[in-house]
Subunit: 473 residues, 2 copies
Amino acid sequence: MDAETFRRNGHALVDWIAEYLNHPEHYPVLSRNRPGEVRDALPDKPPERGVAFEEIFRDFERVIVPGITHWNHPGFFGYFAISGSAPGILAEFLTAALNVQAMLWRTSPSATELEEVTLGWLRQLLGLPDSFEAVIYDTASIASLHALAAARHHVVPNVRLQGLSGPGNVGPLRVYASEHAHSSIDKALITLGLGQESLCKIPVDSEFRMLPDALRDAIRSDRDNGVTPVAIVATVGTTSTTSVDPVVSISEISVNEGIWLHVDAAYAGAAALVPDTRYVLEGCAHADSLVVNPHKWLFTPFDLSAFYCRHMDVVRAAFSLTPDYLDTPEAGQVKNLMDTGVQLGRRFRALKLWAVIRYFGSDGLRERIAEHMRLAQIFSKWVDESSYFERAAPVPLSVVCFRAHGSDNDSTTDDLNMRLLTRVNSSGEVFLSHTRLNGRYTIRLAIGHVRTTEAHVRRAWELLNEARREIGE
Amino acid sequence: MDAETFRRNGHALVDWIAEYLNHPEHYPVLSRNRPGEVRDALPDKPPERGVAFEEIFRDFERVIVPGITHWNHPGFFGYFAISGSAPGILAEFLTAALNVQAMLWRTSPSATELEEVTLGWLRQLLGLPDSFEAVIYDTASIASLHALAAARHHVVPNVRLQGLSGPGNVGPLRVYASEHAHSSIDKALITLGLGQESLCKIPVDSEFRMLPDALRDAIRSDRDNGVTPVAIVATVGTTSTTSVDPVVSISEISVNEGIWLHVDAAYAGAAALVPDTRYVLEGCAHADSLVVNPHKWLFTPFDLSAFYCRHMDVVRAAFSLTPDYLDTPEAGQVKNLMDTGVQLGRRFRALKLWAVIRYFGSDGLRERIAEHMRLAQIFSKWVDESSYFERAAPVPLSVVCFRAHGSDNDSTTDDLNMRLLTRVNSSGEVFLSHTRLNGRYTIRLAIGHVRTTEAHVRRAWELLNEARREIGE
């Protein structure tokens, strides 16, 4: 593509994206596509001849956009609401253009060093001590996988060479997490060859927080039965309710028992930027590792997961491996980030986090996160004052769990809430998702988009009430 | 950021990128930064106040760009040369703007369905049968990890629940790969709890291809000793020399022995688009899984790794796990791509592959790949005719391994070649990397950038000869 053609198409994209980010309400939040609609609209054979980018872009608008669920819509309240903020999007454009591999220092010194600098900034914003070294992974799933791999290496040092099934087999291993921990912990244990049954799910209190006494008992009972503890996973901001496990007590247990403590703060770590909710990371200075996702609540386009570890030497002992073709003269003087990962190839992700932190400033980030929590409190108050709805969990951060009152029958009430959610989401103005709490279907409103305002939250509330009235009893 | 500011900054970026892609020779290929230069140029504390994007961009040019090694420079001949082609870069810009999560069908139907369509196109281009189902991962490291996890699940079905160290311990397990297989295979085995010693490295012939007889013998001997084979990994395009393992013979062994065959065609799979080198994937129709990286030799910005599998049901059996908060009404009617992966979060990567295939067309892709192989043959001929240099391996594809003749002493010759490489790379006009073959230091010239022409390859040759003359004997 010559420079002129690139400019023409690039400028057209800039204009389209500017319009898109400013008026996402032109689109329904949740795609209205039927299964197969995109697939059926496209040829099933690859094209022989190339076409102009203009034609590709026309098909993007015609076929792809209707099949998009708009995560950048301020009425997106599903899962954890995220934002690809403008500075992050622009930085991603540069990252794609540079197309560097951040595996070795020499394959782009800026990629390695900017990662160190920006993760240092983020560490300070989170209030973590400088004993934490850091690295960027794609997702929290991969960050937690590395944390648990390091913990496994710590307990079974010959695992790297001999694995778990060989002659050095040490018998059953155990990892502890609350019953509200994220599914990525289960998947990490499957991957690592520990198996799902190695996960001991610790019960929670009435506010969905891990019970430290139950954790202590589980560890004792395991030790008595010849089971070796590998790690404890505490969750700061569970996916269903954003409950915060009591990390201070949990970290005491981890220190006393000598068990690796990994903190999954993928979503809620960002709340530590705000003075009122700085407490969410209390106790985490004693954790062995911690993950927080700037692509969740720090306005950074997906994917960028920040992993902090007080024993990165263990991660390196578990994974570093330099084949001849990746040996460099400066090895020893520099960090080669491939040493801290399963993945050799690494995008230059630090650039977008750097752009986001600089563009908003700590103040700007803090303000926006605080505002999201204020909006969640407002919504929560509306729920509490309503005769139609009830709150299903505390609201410590920016997610509200609630449900419509129904009859006494649980399954009828579940059904009512499902219908409510379907109806509200079909409006195209908002999108909310659900969970189950104590077995009961529960609607979730998650606030996290940088452009979400009180008006959007109010509109969600209106739509819910309208839908509740229309559905009747 | 308001629309006007986004437009202004976006347009400036488009102009910068257009200029960059057209004149990368304004920059040295390999960054000349000293270790710490970028880090020292940036504040070690996060900014309190935000700044305009213009200021961030100025610092990008001032601090970041000098620390970039230019993978998009047509004189980049290191590792495997890759390209972020213009249509791919533009598509990445849209992906960043949409910022969708492709974990569930409903979180953007287009992301899931376009992935199916484009991987179907690529499958046809590779000449693979439609018994292969496909999914996009970030890297081949992760694709091979999933392949080996599926193979492990196949052999030890209770591994998902009980792991490898529990009561169901089946004793030592083994994976077979050539001694030239990629380090990602070692890392996958570490991760999966099989351990590095579970990797049996099969010797190669004089052209660095796995010896099928040695594979057969290793399997027999292991079975006799109570070791359970899990998988065979064949490499189509090894990293050092791009040698192609004899997959036809290897797949016969895999079928006869009932052992999962995974093919790592991360780099060389693309050569199957060209009639003359279609043979590289011969026998792969019988493989159980295969990975090819469009971000390597198919002009797609990093990262995008295409994983093909004839038993995706096993991958799903190993990994699918749906927590309440990710349950959707349409489950069962649609594919949810989170079911085939360790990672829950997934970028909308298919968009860039779709744009690249449509923009170039199969013809355009084929032509460019063929041209790279033609250039490698030209360079190889120069080496063969030279009195200064000798070829160190056959040149089946687009990489040439060679070294300068030295004295009889191996270490002196190694040293000469190291100095040569350093000198050539310091020119700023080209960047080549190295490997070791049979213990001897070997220079590699890897051709793969979409803008690399005969002139760039010729310039590399001139620089090598100049350096050789200057260094003397």
